[in-house]
Amino acid sequence: MLRENQRRFKFDWITIIIFLLLVAFGYVNILSASHVGEITNYFDMGQPYGKQTVFIGLTFILIILILSFEAKFYERFASIIYIVAILSLLGLFIFGKDVNGARSWYGIGSMTIQPSEFAKFATALAVAKYISDLQTNMETLKDQIRVAAIIFTPALLILLQNDAGSTIVYLAFFFVFYREGLQQVYLIVALALIILAVLSLKYGLIVTSVIASIILLVRYFLRKKKRASLIQYILVLIISIGFAYGVKLFYEHGLKPHQQNRISLWLRLEKDPAKLERMKKAEAYNLIQSEQAISSGGTYGKGFLQGTRTTGKFVPEQHTDYIFSTVGEEWGFLGSSFVVILFVALIVRILYLAESQKSQFSRVYGYGVASILFVHFTINTGMVMGLIPTVGIPLPFFSYGGSGLWGFTILLFIFIKLDSNKINEW
């Protein structure tokens, strides 16, 4: 009996407290961003904040449910959960509902559910299950291809449903793979590709080619082992230039105009002031409004419900993807840094816990959780602050929406459950 009680309270309370703080502060800001006129009824289902009240209430039931399962359940049923998630994504093509051009929702009465929010934890479980298998070796190409298939299947389905933002999140698993033994060369190649892509867009093919040639040439003459021949270096160079060309081609012909504009604005590619103005009007309206709302908050903010831009609904989608701008306006530098610190603390705590797991499954899953939260947090706040091109994904625990909140809650609390079970692992 005593042992039972001890176990129940082995949950990592630091993580839980940070979670509660984020949800509570998020709710306060959703109130500000979504209320119209006086707030009379916190359960007003006609208002986003009223719905969110209910969502949060249901979240706690969900938490109790998750924690009451045996920890082993998640490992054992990981594959089945993953398959259910994939099926639910596939089902969207038949039963899905179009919202803002993306076919990512199931409509149940007046409620909508977004399966992609749940696919994340399912994928994290599947990845953890696969990697923690004794047969798996991340250094072999075979296993690399298999885990890639695990993450790209849901990612591709989501991309096909026209939700590019959520697709990007699956790249988060790269951090997990790297932790679990993926060769360093992937990291270098990924970095090189990003640099190549940015260079080719910003400075054109010739400059990119010249820079790539110089770097490879220097590398060739400074090489320690004579293993690689000149031919190989030339091959790498040709591939690099080919990639750069491909990026340019993709940017010019493969992207939708609004995606093109977002990147163009981010990299400041447009030089013609008239065109730039038009582009800003069309694409950067949200961004400009959100940046203005944040700056107008100053050091201390305007106070709860006092944000004039929030009240005037200047920032579109403010209670969902742009919720952080409300924090900026009403709570100022102090409030918004506090949120940043909370997120960093949460992710660092999860990483710390993951490293302390005795089971590889728990560790890989924990890494998956940290990576997904990190990518969401970075892309969302980075975008709202104007550091990253516009990508529509929510801020975990903060943004309005039931599916998102529940998806992230499940994601996090499965890990908390796994973590609480570590003393039983031998």
């Binding site: 944040i294 100053g298 200047f314 530098f333 918004s336 990483l351 890494y367 990190f374 550091l387």
Partner: protein, 646 residues
């Protein structure tokens, strides 16, 4: 290493984000100011500007509505060229203007309103109002402009104009496009007249739609109407003064000695105050401003500093009596002047020796040179004597700003021992070095209003009230400074002989030709030598004609100083004009029509043209009198007929 990659990136991202937030909110942010917030519309409600009445209750300045098209550049949505053309036609501007004005407003501030087209006519407004909502970022602001009920007193009334950026920087009450008093009473009584504008804060949504009052309207204020004021000017006397000054340059200041109220304040040449109202204001103002020869914006009654000349002698007589260095019967001889060392101060032919009475009414230079020396030399050192003398003079309001409620003014100049110490070295100068002070030349400078005030102080026998223009402010007392007498350093009993001397100026002295039957006027003529730089050479021009007077002799009702540029000797123009003004004020009509006709018929324009003629010219004795053209005379008669009778 593998364990640390994500951890490092997470912490780096956290630092970068906090740095970015710091940059946006603390470094680039600002303390919240609702006026800077584009989400809050500020709707101004301008109160009625106070009316201005003359001392007899005649309305001088009222209001008329005016409509400005304002722009907030940030909110402007680009219009296509057809829309722009349509908008420009409505506003009666060219397409070029449209972009120029928009650009100028953007440079001032993209988020604050700037006037786009000021002061639309009523018809343009009516047409535009219908279509205004099509042009986002533009709106119409109602204001009130001045409506002058008179064509006189431009220098007194002043005008209102748009505030400029430096005013806004100093006085945040004002916004771009607001009107502020620029000159005259509009300037000095700006706060009284303007009232306080009301403001409504309205929360807007992103479609620029009003969605309700901001913070439940708790910050909103109602406009406080401006107060009406009554000024001390007698508009009929003012009009008459301006008539007399036609075709001449100079100033007339008339004061009521018993109160210090300014009855008339003429500066010639003048202009019609209506020129500075409406859309033509800036064009007309520039024209007036750029007239660097006639300088119509230069208020000669308040700003022109000249050596006061002979009227100043009365003060030396008073000081001498006060100091006890002469009695009224002490006589000094004059042989066409006063010799000191090997130099001589000239005088004209008159009886000799002269006592004080004769000295004053004949304006004898030698008499006053002697008196002045006695005043200074009473003390052990000239420095001590000079400072003592200087203090007496200053007690008449000379040598410093009057600290009154006029928008412009000059301190004049009264030398002290320090003045000469600077010029000659400490203790290296003697009374004779400063002898010109005896006759109001030399280092002394005064403005016409100081001269008029001096006349008032003599008329009052020893005190004056600071000359001021405000008579009544709706529900407010006028400043105490204007109702407290300022006493001179001269005891009352010493004034009578000097007043008698000034009376005799009219009786038998230099002004006997400008007597007014039935009014006992005390006056003093004066002339001031003056010079101009022509082609790099200092050239003497015809003397300025100066006159100072008060009347009646006992319990004076009016004190006056008249100053006519290059009018030659004192009674020629200034004396005549002073007498006419006095008669007009006291009797309400003119009996000396011969004198009036002389003043109205003659012009001094030829005199003013001389320095610019590039030809040699004669001055003083060699000048001739010129009459105005018949058309101009007709015109003057018309103006005269339009001045209401009492």
């Amino acid at each position: 290493m593998r364990k640390l990659l994500l951890l490092t990136i997470v912490i780096l991202v956290g630092i970068v984000f906090i740095a970015r937030l710091f940059y946006l909110q603390v470094y680039g942010g600002y303390e919240y100011d609702v006026f800077e917030d584009s989400a809050i519309k500020k709707e101004y409600n301008y109160p009625k500007r106070g009316y201005v009445y003359d001392r007899n209750g005649k309305l001088l300045v009222a209001n008329q509505p005016s409509y400005d098209v304002m722009v907030i550049p940030r909110d402007v949505e680009p219009l296509d060229s057809i829309e722009i053309e349509e908008f420009c036609t409505l506003l009666k501007i060219t397409k070029e203007d449209y972009f120029k004005k928009l650009d100028r407003a953007t440079r001032y501030s993209p988020r604050l309103p700037s006037p786009f087209v000021a002061q639309l006519s009523k018809i343009d407004y009516a047409v535009l109002q219908e279509k205004m909502r099509k042009y986002r970022g533009f709106y119409i602001q109602k204001r009130s402009l001045r409506l002058y009920q008179t064509t006189i007193g431009a220098n007194v009334l002043g005008d209102i104009g748009e505030v400029n950026r430096s005013i806004i920087a100093k006085q945040p009450y004002y916004n771009m496009g607001d009107l502020i008093g620029k000159q005259g009473v509009e300037k000095t009584y700006e706060k009284t007249l303007r009232g306080v504008k009301g403001i409504k804060f309205i929360q807007k949504d992103r479609f620029n739609k009003d969605i309700g009052p901001f913070q439940d309207g708790t910050l909103d204020t109602l406009p406080v109407p401006g107060k009406d004021i009554k000024i001390t000017i007698d508009s009929k006397l003012q009009a008459y003064g301006e008539l007399l000054m036609k075709n001449k340059r100079g100033g007339i200041i008339a004061i009521e000695p018993a109160s210090g109220e300014i009855l008339a304040m003429v500066s010639g040449p003048s202009y019609n105050p209506n020129l500075l109202v409406g859309r033509n204001r800036s064009k007309n103002f520039t024209k007036l401003y750029n007239d660097s020869i006639a300088k119509p914006l230069f208020d000669r009654g308040l700003q022109a500093m000249y050596p006061p000349g002979s009227p100043f002698k009365t003060l030396n007589a008073l000081i001498a009596l006060q100091e006890g260095v002469v009695t009224t019967t002490d006589k000094f001889s004059c042989s066409l002047g006063y010799r000191y060392g090997n130099r001589k101060m000239g005088c004209h032919v008159h009886r000799s020796p002269a006592d004080m009475n004769l000295g004053i009414y004949e304006s004898c230079n030698a008499y006053f040179a002697n008196v002045y020396r006695k005043i200074i030399d009473k003390y052990d050192s000239p420095a001590e004597g000079m400072d003592n003398w200087s203090n007496h003079i200053k007690s008449f309001g000379l040598g410093n700003y009057l600290n009154n409620d006029l928008s412009v003014g000059q301190p004049g100049k009264v030398p002290t021992a320090a003045t000469y110490d600077r010029g000659y070295g400490k203790n290296k100068w003697y009374t004779t070095f400063t002898i010109s002070n005896a006759i109001g030349q030399g280092e002394v400078l005064a403005t016409p209003i100081q001269l008029a005030n001096m006349a008032a102080a003599i008329g009052n026998r020893g005190f004056y009230y600071t000359p001021h223009i405000i008579k009544e402010i709706e529900g407010e007392p006028i400043p105490e400074n204007f109702t407290t007498p300022k006493y001179t350093t001269i005891d009352k009993q010493h004034f009578e002989p000097v007043v008698q001397g000034m009376f005799d100026v009219y009786n038998k002295g230099t002004a006997k030709w400008v007597q007014i039957p039935g009014i006992e006027i005390c006056g003093k003529t004066g002339t001031a030598e003056n010079f101009a730089i022509i082609n790099g050479e200092k050239t003497q021009l015809t003397d300025h004609s100066i006159f100072m007077a008060f009347a009646p002799k006992d319990n004076p009702k009016i004190a006056i100083a008249v100053f006519v540029e290059n009018g030659y000797f004192g009674s020629r123009f200034a004396g005549r004009m002073a007498s006419l003004m006095i008669e007009r004020y006291i009797k309400g009509e003119i009996s000396r029509t011969d004198m009036e006709d002389f003043v109205l018929r003659h012009t001094l324009e030829h005199e003013y043209a001389k320095p610019y003629s590039d030809e040699p010219f004669g001055i003083n004795r060699q000048t001739t009198l010129e009459t105005v053209s018949p058309e101009e005379y007709q015109n003057i008669m018309q103006i005269k007929a339009n001045i209401p009778k009492d």
